[in-house]
């Protein structure tokens, strides 16, 4: 028995220090910060018309300040939010027809199916598109337009352009936009209803966008460049989303 006591004592003394020593061995060391991969040379955005674009950008800002902002303020002030939501939904519903057509042109039948299902549901149960019943049923609105279709067909983006009144675009998106305008039934209505409907859609679109404009102005160093980056990221994403099967 005498042999045991020192043995126990040794172990008893050692055990805690062993146990204490073990964490440093057993703890996974916090991983060394992952080095950033060698930053790739970022291709500067294609902005061939930058000098002209900056002028148009400034003019648009001027028109916004004098005309669009006051109109948006009146629109927001006069119309309760459910009316504004309804108007937004109404134009989104018309847009979904175009989205569906484009998904078909892109060879994406299943997406087009969802788009047309949305139109069918929203035009009927959703009272002519005023309520987005489709979204509540899990049929989410997806972006799609002729510019995207041209991209799927392999037509390059082309240089960035700022369109008067409308704002950021590229040559390809501008081409897509003209197809849209030419095929829009509203274009062929009488002048007054045609312009009223387009004006209303413009106003609603701008009213929606206004919410983010303050944030963009506050966070950017060069608003022109910041908006260009956001726009080009958004467009390339729209194209990628239909090119990669999900």
């Amino acid at each position: 028995m005498k042999r045991i006591v020192p043995f126990i004592l040794t172990i008893a003394l050692l055990a805690p220090s062993l146990a204490a020593a073990s964490p440093s061995k057993k703890v996974k060391p916090a991983p060394a910060p992952i080095p950033l991969e060698e930053p790739a040379e970022i291709a500067p955005p294609n902005d061939l018309f930058e000098p002209i674009n900056r002028v148009t950008f400034a003019v648009n800002d001027g028109i916004d300040a004098i005309l669009v902002n006051p109109l948006v303020a009146i629109w927001n002030g006069l119309m309760p939010s459910f009316v504004r939501t309804g108007v937004g939904n109404f134009f989104n519903n018309l847009d979904d027809v175009y989205v569906g057509v484009n998904h078909l042109l892109q060879g994406n039948g299943s997406r087009a199916g969802v788009d047309f299902e949305r139109v069918a549901v929203n035009s009927t149960v959703g009272i002519g598109g005023l309520i987005d019943v489709g979204a509540k049923m899990g049929l989410q609105k997806v972006d799609g337009d002729f510019g995207q279709t041209l991209g799927v067909w392999g037509i390059p983006t082309g240089p960035y352009v700022i369109l008067p009144l409308i704002g950021p675009s590229t040559l390809r998106e501008t081409a897509g936009r003209s197809v849209r305008v030419m095929t829009d039934p509203r274009t062929y209505l009488d002048t007054v209803p045609s312009y009223s409907l387009m004006g209303l859609e413009y106003l609603q679109t701008r009213a929606d966008a206004k919410a983010n404009e303050g944030l963009i102005a506050a966070s950017s160093l060069d608003r022109y460049v910041f908006i260009r980056n956001l726009y080009l990221q958004k467009r390339s994403l729209m194209l990628k989303s239909v090119q990669t099967p999900q």
Binding site: M1, R3, I4, F7, I8, I11, L14, A15, P16, L18, A19, A20, S22, P23, K26, V27, K28, A30, P31, P33, I34, L36, P39, A40, E41, I42, P44, P45, T85, D132, A135, Q140, K141, L215, A218, S219, S220, L221, D222, V225, F226, R228, N229, L230, Q233, K234, L237, S241
Partner: protein, 213 residues
């Protein structure tokens, strides 16, 4: 008796060895538990979102854009969870090495200030929106992940992804992606433009001017 005594000694020795092994194991377990206490990144995002939502909903001052309380709250609870150095490095790309260490430090500070100042007020939206953690994409196990979330409460949910990196101070956010658009990448062209026009010092001046100091 001697036989029994010897056997007992052996038994006790074995028991002692067992205890020693157990205590080693236990020590390892405790230490690995201590490690596990650092929450997984998706848990971290979920926990932060829940804490912030509760705070914003229970304190009207946190719903008041520009209030001092918001900036205090953000400084204390959110800023420590962001890796501004990495954010700045990504935004600067190749120009990062053109700045000397003192300039790098200055850019990190000023850019962090700009981001904190402009995006702080966004926490007020948590008043009527909820954050749902959807999934996590692991880029490098235990080191680099993207936590995908959705802000719900409006007709259209908004997808917000947080890229996190694990370091000595735990998981930290190094990019926020809104509907697929990266906020850090959004600054790349601006930074590159300023550096090519007026050098690193030009970028620092622009950041300082924007921050109003």
């Amino acid at each position: 008796m001697k036989e029994i005594g010897n056997r007992m000694v052996r038994l006790v020795e074995q028991a002692v060895r067992l205890v020693a092994v157990l205590s080693l194991l236990l020590g390892a377990m405790i230490s690995s538990n201590a490690y596990a206490d650092a929450p997984a990144p998706d848990e971290l995002v979920r926990k932060l979102a829940a804490e912030m939502t509760t705070a914003v909903r229970s304190d009207p001052e946190l719903q008041n854009p520009g209030s001092l309380k918001i900036s205090d709250f953000v400084q204390k609870n959110i800023v420590p969870r962001f890796d501004f150095e990495r954010i700045t490095q990504i935004a600067m790309g190749r120009n990062w090495v053109k700045a000397n260490p003192a300039e790098q430090k200055q850019i990190v500070t000023e850019f962090g200030k700009l981001l904190t100042r402009t995006y702080s007020n966004a926490i007020a939206t948590l008043k009527d929106l909820d954050v749902e953690v959807k999934s996590t994409r692991v880029l490098t196990p235990n080191a680099d992940v993207t936590v995908k979330t959705q802000m719900v409460g409006r007709p259209q949910p908004v997808a917000i992804d947080y890229s996190l990196i694990n370091g000595p101070a735990g998981w930290k956010v190094y990019d926020v992606t809104v509907e697929g658009i990266s906020l850090v990448a959004a600054y790349r062209d601006e930074f590159a433009g300023l550096v090519s026009q007026s050098g690193v010092s030009g970028l620092i001046d622009a950041l300082k001017k924007k921050n109003g100091d």
